[in-house]
Each structure stands twice: as C-alpha cells, then as structure tokens.
C-alpha cells in the first residue's frame, strides 16, 4: 500500500471548531499518490483485477421471498460504481452478502479475485463498509470506535490511533473524538461511519446511502472526500437514492430491480440512451402563452417559465435559435428531472427501455 503526504489543501468539513495540533505527525508517510489524496485516506494499488465479481447470486429468505434472482455483476478495480435500484430491489441484500453479513442461497462472490468462501480472510480484509443504518456502539467514545475497527484488521493500536486521529480531523470530528458516539448529530454519525469504513484502508469501499440525512454542505464535502479516496485507487461502490449524486460521482453503474440487474453500463452510455429530455426555461420577458415553435413541444407554466421537450437528435441549440427568432430571451435553463432519474424510472417502472 502506498501512502502519501498531503498535496493539496482540503475543503474543510463544516462543524469543526478547532484542528488537531499541527505538530502531530501525519499518520501516512508517502512515496507517491494522486494529487489531493490527504493523509489518513486509503491509497490502494491500482490493479488489473476486478474488484468485485458476482456470479449467479441468489438469495431466498425464509418465507420464500426471493431477494436476488441470479445477479451477475463485475466492478473493475479503481472504478467509482453506482448500484442503484428502488427500495426492496436487492441492493442491500447484495451488499450484505458481499460483506458476509447475509448467507447467500447460491452463486459466487469474489473480491479482488479472492473467493469469499475459500479466501474469506483476504476477501474480507479488502472491504470497507459504510452501512445504511448506524451500527456502532453508541456508548463508546468516537475515537475508540475507529481504533477498535482498525484493530479487527490487525492494525497495531498506536498506528490505529494515528489513523483515527487523521480521519477524524479530515471529517471534522476531531473535537468530538472523546465524546460518546450517541451524542453526535445525524450528519456526524454518518461521517463517523465513513471514517470507520476507511480506517483500515480497504481496497473496496462499499457505501450504502452515505449521504442520507446530511445537509447539502456536508454532502458536498463527503463527495470531495470520496473523489479523493477514489483518485487514490480505492474502488468505490455506491448505493444512493440521490441519483444526482450517482451521476456526479460514478463512472459506471448497474440498476437492480426485483432481484435482477436490468442495466449495467458506463454512466455516459446510459445517459445517452435518453431519446428525449425535458427542460425548464426561465424567460427574461413574460409570456401569456406557450410559444409555437415547429418541431418542439412547449408548455406554458407561468409568465416567466415554459417547459420544452427536446429530442436527442434536435439538441438545445435549435431550441434557442427558434426562440431567439421569436424574440424570446432565455435567462436560464435546467433539466426538469435528473437525467439518470429519468432513465432509472423508465427501467424500474417496467416501461420499455429508453434505448
């Protein structure tokens, strides 16, 4: 594992009052790493192996509920991968199986080529999980939670403290390190769980709804941190209900629905499958009705807002030109719904795929 010194200044996470003493040595000496990877964060080797392989994964719970019906999935090492799906689709079950929290009914799991049954120790040592719900000892001091986590992975106690302090500093929890975890706010608890998932420097980081319930400022900070972790070579698998989060962070994705993978491709490819997008246009001058523009469908929402459907072949340039010829000046435009959300809804609603 390659460790690096701080190269670029970090965006501070809100909520921090004071920093730890500057004299404290960074917990990670270093030789080389991508710029911007801060000390304390994992810097994994970029390997050619697949980070995760699921083959024919099935899970039938007691009572006959089929949570997974033969899931095949491959995540490349170094990827930032989104695993999306509606509630009850099987995302959390799949993650729990990978993390050895749930026994699978059938199929095979390999983490960086290590079979989860045969090479279970190597496979599990590679994984860091930030689960959806809080699962730490609320009576324990914050720093102890991280130190214990590192200890379970064979990190000596002194080094575990150094790593924990560095991560707590990065995540704005340094001042709360001696407090019992129960006293943290919801957003702080999410950050603590992220720190815990990172403290043993996993090569595969699995995040189940990492930013659920945190404010937008903290969410953006966490996004920045995750980008830096991924830039350091750590493979990240993200499940989220915030599809703009997946679109913003991830390069590849799979959509799981009713226990099967219904889409698995690069983020760009799946977004290009959208044949039509709907834009909301803010106008400088008020209009009494929707303008008539040949080839486009426009709907009047209020005097300063219209909605336009734009086919992929048309593009927005034609729309602007047409409106300009009519003397209508557009102040701004935005997608009516997130593009990924639109694809997602079409796939999981059982409608024909956009492609």
């Amino acid at each position: 594992m390659i460790l690096v010194p701080r190269v670029a200044p970090l965006t501070p996470i809100p909520g921090r009052v004071t920093r730890r003493p500057r004299s404290r040595r960074p917990c990670v000496p270093s030789t080389s790493a991508p710029a911007g990877v801060p000390p304390g964060l994992p810097v994994a080797d970029r390997g050619t192996a697949r980070a995760l392989t699921l083959q024919g994964l099935t899970k039938v719970y007691r009572g006959g509920v089929e949570a997974l019906r033969g899931v095949d999935l491959e995540v490349e090492a170094g990827d930032f991968f989104a695993l999306l799906g509606p509630n009850g689709a099987g995302k959390t079950t799949a993650i729990a199986i990978v993390c050895a929290l749930v026994r699978r009914t059938g199929g095979r799991v390999a983490v960086f080529g290590h079979d989860l049954d045969r090479d279970w120790a190597e496979a599990r040592a590679s994984i860091g999980l930030m689960p959806q719900e809080h699962n730490f000892n609320v009576w324990e001091p914050v720093v102890e939670i991280l130190v214990n986590q590192a200890g379970y992975y064979g990190v000596p106690r002194r080094e575990a403290y150094a790593r924990a302090e560095s991560l707590l500093d990065e995540l704005g929890l340094w001042d709360r390190r001696r407090d019992q975890a129960r006293s943290l706010s919801g957003g702080m608890k999410r950050r603590l769980m992220l720190a815990r998932a990172l403290v043993h420097r996993p090569r595969l980081l699995i995040l189940d709804e990492p930013t659920a319930g945190v404010d937008i400022e903290v969410r953006r900070s966490i996004w920045g941190l995750l980008r830096r972790v991924n830039a350091g070579g750590t493979t990240i698998i993200l499940t989220t209900h915030y599809l703009e989060e997946a679109e913003s962070l991830c390069r590849n994705l799979a959509i799981i629905h009713r226990g099967t993978i219904v889409a698995h491709s690069a983020m760009g490819d799946i977004l290009r499958r959208l044949h039509r997008e709907t834009f909301v246009l803010s106008l400088r001058q008020p209009l009494g009705e929707a303008p008539a523009l040949p080839g486009y469908t426009l709907r009047w929402l209020d005097p300063h807002t219209v909605e336009a459907d734009v086919e992929q072949a048309q593009g927005v340039n034609g729309l602007f030109e047409g409106l300009s010829k009519l003397g209508i000046e557009v102040a701004s435009l935005r997608n009516k719904v997130n593009r990924l959300e639109e694809v997602f809804m079409r796939l999981v609603d059982g409608q024909p795929g956009p492609g």
């Binding site: 719970y61 729990a96 993390c99 050895a100 929290l101 749930v102 026994r103 279970w120 120790a121 190597e122 496979a123 599990r124 040592a125 994984i127 999980l129 689960p131 719900e133 699962n135 730490f136 000892n137 609320v138 009576w139 324990e140 102890e144 130190v147 214990n148 986590q149 200890g151 379970y152 992975y153 064979g154 990190v155 000596p156 106690r157 815990r196 043993h200």
Partner: protein, 257 residues
C-alpha cells in the same frame, strides 16, 4: 489473517471488553461486593455462628470459597451475555462479522473479557470476605485454575446464550431459571454429604458442584468430590461448550441473515 493480525484482533476485543466493564464499574464491580457482604453477614455471622463446623472449619470459612465462586460465575456469565447481546442489539457485531477475524479469535476475545471480569470480581469479593472469614489458600495454582476454568466455562455459556438470544428477556431467563438454582444447589452453602439420599446423588449431576469443590480444594483443602474429578468434569464441560460455541459462531446462527 496471519497470527500477528489475529493476536492484534484478540487484543482489541479484550481491551474493548475490559474498558467496557471498567467504565461501568458501579454496575459491574460494586454490586457483587455488596451482595457478598450481605451473604457473609447473614449466612456467615448471624446464622453461621449457630451452626457446627463443616469439614473441620467454621461455617463462614466453609462457605467463603463458594460465595466467591458464585460471584465469579454470575459475573463472567453476565459480562459476556450482556456485552455480546448488546453488540447484536445495536448491530455493531457487524464490525466483527465483516472483518477478517476468525471465529475462534472472536470467541477467545469475549471469553477472555469475561474471565478478567470474573477475576476482578473475585479479588473484590475476596477483599470483602476478609473481615468475616479466614480466607486461607492451601494451593494457589489449584485455586487460580479453578477460578479461571470456571470463569471460562461460564463466559462461554454467556456467549452461547447471547448468540441465540433475540431479546433482553432471553438473556435473563438462563441466569434466573438455570444458573441461580444450580449455583445455590451446587454446594455453595452446604456440603452434599449433609444431604439425605437421593438428593446427595442428584447433586452430583450439578456441574457447579464440581467447580465449587475444585476451588474449595484449593482454599480450605476439602471438597465434595475429588480434585481430579472436579477438574475433569469442569474441563470437559468447558471443552464441549467451547466447541459448540465455535460451531454456532462459524455457522452464523443468530448473527447472519
């Protein structure tokens, strides 16, 4: 996971467990001291003073090893059952289930925590007994071996109870309806030779009798059964229950969906 990593994981669990019971010392170390003082006051001083010597020693001196061992049994058991069940209840047991920690290391860490609490309580309770009883030790190795073996056995029992427990009721049922009666009937306050037939023979089916006897051999130099059979039976129970605990942990009973 290599031997060093396993050792560090064991250390981590053990330190966590010890810090846990030290952090709440008012709940873990003080109550046995109070209870024991009451036992010595009532059974030793008030009632015991009226009784004839047992096995050649004063009644209060005879019950002292049993009372100490009773505290060890209760505390070793409750330490592990409450700690491991809490980790299930709050779901932070998942930290260990995800980590590459072998089942044996998890079990050993929790059991070692229970044993240390048992020994800490034994020290506290022994100190409390000093004003009331003449706490002589005939053999330190036998006494310590009996204490450690008993604490180990009941720590494992607490672990198994926690694995299968689904509610806080489930972790109080065994101590209330199994452990306490067996302890009281296990020769803590009497010698089984004082019992009429068939109770004397039935008492020999009680595993706690063998542990109390082993400890009594180490302290006052007498017991209801021979030292060899006391250790053999206690050791056999420990090995059998330990193997069962490892098996259930490996299979993930009560822990994995």
């Amino acid at each position: 996971m290599g031997a060093r990593a396993s050792w560090l994981a064991f250390q981590t669990i053990l330190i966590k467990e010890v810090l846990r019971f030290l952090r709440i010392w008012v709940q873990t170390l003080v109550p046995p001291a109070v209870t024991t003082a009451l036992y010595f006051l009532i059974f030793g001083q008030l009632i015991g003073a009226q009784l004839a010597p047992v096995e050649g020693v004063r009644y209060v001196d005879y019950i002292a090893p049993g009372v100490i061992l009773m505290a060890v049994i209760t505390n070793a058991y409750s330490n592990v059952v409450s700690s491991f069940f809490s980790s299930k209840y709050q779901r932070y047991v998942e930290e260990l289930l995800i980590a590459p920690v072998p089942s044996g290391v998890v079990l050993a860490g929790y059991v070692a925590g229970g044993v240390l609490r048992g020994l800490a309580v034994a020290a506290v309770v022994s100190a409390v007994s000093l004003p009331f009883a003449d706490l002589s030790v005939r053999s330190w190795p036998v006494s310590l071996a009996a204490l450690v073996l008993t604490a180990t056995l009941f720590s494992i029992a607490g672990f198994v109870n926690a694995v299968f427990a689904r509610s806080f009721d489930d972790i109080s049922v065994v101590p209330t309806f199994v452990l306490t009666p067996l302890t009281y009937l296990g020769g803590v306050f009497f010698s089984v030779s004082m019992l009429p037939h068939p109770w004397r023979d039935l008492s020999l089916l009680n595993p706690i009798l063998y542990m109390v006897s082993a400890f009594r051999h180490g302290t006052i130099g007498a017991g209801d059964v021979s030292l060899a059979s006391a250790f053999a039976i206690t050791g056999a129970f420990t090995l059998a229950l330990g193997a069962f605990a490892l098996w259930v942990l490996g299979r993930g009973f009560g822990l994995k969906g």
